[in-house]
Assembly symmetry: C2
């Protein structure tokens, strides 16, 4: 087994080659990866079954994350093919002008270089991350959870073979096979070779990684997402949006956690919304004013406003106006996704300008904040950072840029 | 004197207001700042004279950095007015589309929030940084060198007064007045309030800051810049470009440090280039092959290839071909600014694609890699990072963005 340092060095060499490989050839490699995975489907499922059998004391939730079902497998292949079909982000002219001196100045998207992905159980991250990284001309180092090592090894081997067939360096994709905990620490030290680390997983993992390295880390913290129901909101639209935001999938980062209701419409709208939520089995925890309107609602404590439930629980607070709603979001939100439900242009614009989150929504489910529903295709996560990438991270976000200036002997005065 | 924490908190509050202030009003504030500085010109010069008088054992170079001359003062005012006249980067529509569902998705530039600038002697950074930060809707915390504190205080007070007159929060600009070394450490801890730190100064300062904080740091390391003279280069154009790249100003980051000459043209071009450089008093240090052509050239050691002289010294290496030139730049360059001198389209394109630097130049002086000559107006420095901003950092680079999605009740399936 090669050392993490050598592996990182190999990734850097591969990145040096990848930056001059055409977009067509990178797309070809992604399509071949999907084809190669289909060829070795039996091996993937067999390795995955071994991983599941070997994992001790598996909870249902964990097994669900670890398991590659027919649906998940199909999705993994689709992601590779979808990424192949996207426009090439590399070489995109981001801006350009000819200066009075005749100097032609251009800002052009280029690959970042080497991206290390550190993640937990889900093996589909292995193919998703490779898809987005290779689409944008980067070499990728994968460090998945040790529980899915057998699965990841089959996936990575297939992708490496496909890369070679397409004329890309084999080390475009590399999997760290050691399950020794020390290897992550080693990886965090490779600032000479690795340009960006993307951790996926719980807050603890992300925090530990970003505090343990000098390499830039793109953070994907979880989301405490809000919807604010403005005075003029339609009760039925509000109910359907709140139910979808909360219930479409409860354990994800863009699921709704806190509902803010304007006092001017609370008595009219809240009972309709609560009825719809109860029909879905959602536990409601409200402020004192909420409890006056919804008698069977539990009492929310101060902690509730800062809690990401990731389960079928929703906190509800009645606010005096849009300013209190925005102040609550500023104080308790995580800057991920926050929405307003209103038919007022003025209120929607105040909310858009005043809420400092990666995604600000008007009359839309929080579950729509993501790559696919924004037309970005494959993404490797949703960034809550404000520097570099904010919100969904797709192929364009895994690019840097360079300035190119073409002259005919121009000097500085 | 308020604590660094309280000052940072005030900046955050100011940033919350600034993000909804119109571009017109921010431009007005910048113009008023220039006007106010002109009004208190005498006070600025008096404070600056006191700073210079109080600095013990001043070297000439240091005095030059510290002193505000008529020319520097005029430049400072111009920078504020130029920034005011630039297009507003805030609110720029970076991309947008309407999805099949009818969801209107937009990516819009927004201020980053609170930017802390840590810098050494030059007081013009005080106004430059404020100009760029305010142009992009950010609140700015200034921590200048203690030697220029009196000057900086007059500058900051004038800018604060002008901000208030324009209807901006007074704390849009704040100066840290304590000269206690511990305040920088305190500043580095304010991750709750500060969104970005920009250090300006020597490599040591930048390294210490970026290693001592969890706040994102935009690094402006110095430059080991190269020019590669390709086989077909015109000797006279090469000589004028090399002289300008090296001599126009020797102590800056985009000055030339190493000249790479293709062996195919070395005997033809190198004597012409060397003659021009000697006329400017430049000391030449060459590889063994160079010494065969230029008999009075000193011998370069391996260390020379990794040295940023920041003085009238140039290292010269003869390379076998463009690949060796690019390999040398990859091994010894700092990713700042590197150029090729050629009339070949094919060679220029190989160089542009193959050299991974913030600025890649063709037939242009390295001294042109910067904000003004790229048409960006005021900049706060030149980033050698690959994430977020790369190359010149102007108002657009001090913006983040948010996703805004406007719907009519769209749900996720």
């Amino acid at each position: 087994m090669i050392s993490v340092q050598e592996l990182s060095q190999r990734a850097k060499i591969a990145a040096g080659i990848l930056k001059t490989v055409s977009g067509q050839r990178r797309a070809d490699a992604l399509n071949r990866m999907a084809g190669k995975l289909l060829e070795c489907k039996d091996a993937v499922f067999a390795a995955n079954a071994e991983d599941i059998a070997a994992a001790p004391g598996l909870t249902d939730a964990f097994r669900k994350r670890l398991q590659i079902t027919e649906k998940v497998f199909k999705y993994m292949l689709n992601r590779l093919q979808e990424a192949a079909a996207l426009p090439d982000p590399v070489g995109e002219l981001l801006e350009g002008r000819t200066m009075p001196s005749g100097l032609q100045v251009k800002r052009i998207a280029v690959p970042i270089g080497v991206i290390a992905m550190i993640y937990e159980a889900r093996p589909n991250v292995t193919t998703d991350a490779a898809a987005v990284a290779i689409k944008s001309g980067n070499a990728v180092i994968l460090k998945g959870g040790s529980e899915s090592l057998r699965t990841n090894k089959v996936l990575a081997d297939a992708m490496r073979a496909a890369a070679v067939e397409a004329g890309l360096p084999e080390d475009t994709v590399q999997l760290i096979e050691s399950t020794d905990h020390a290897v992550v620490g080693e990886l965090l030290k490779q600032e000479k070779f690795i340009d960006l680390i993307i951790p996926r997983g719980g807050k603890g993992l992300i925090k530990a990684i970003s505090e343990g390295t000098r390499i830039p880390v793109l953070k994907h913290y979880d989301g405490i997402c809000h919807q604010y129901i403005a005075p003029d909101a339609d009760a039925n639209m509000a109910a359907s949006l709140i139910v979808n935001s909360k219930c479409q999938r409860v354990e994800v980062c863009n699921a709704l956690e806190t509902l803010l209701v304007d006092t001017a419409c609370a008595e009219r709208v809240l009972p309709v919304v609560a009825e719809a939520l109860r029909g879905k089995g959602v536990e409601l925890r409200g402020c004192a004013q909420t409890q006056k309107i919804l008698q069977d609602c539990l009492a929310a404590t101060e902690d509730d406003w800062d809690t990401e439930y990731l389960s079928a629980t929703l906190s509800i607070k009645i606010v005096q106006n849009i300013d209190e709603a925005m102040a609550h979001i500023a104080a308790h939100g995580s800057g991920h996704t926050d929405g307003i439900i209103t038919s007022s242009l003025a209120l929607s614009e105040r909310f858009i300008a005043g809420v400092d989150s990666a995604s600000v929504l008007v009359n839309a489910s929080t579950r729509l904040s993501g790559g696919g529903d924004y037309g970005m295709g494959a993404v490797v996560g949703i960034s809550t950072d404000k520097l570099h990438a904010r919100g969904p991270v797709g192929p364009r976000e895994l690019c840097s840029y360079k300035w190119v200036a073409i002259g005919s002997g121009q000097l500085r005065d």
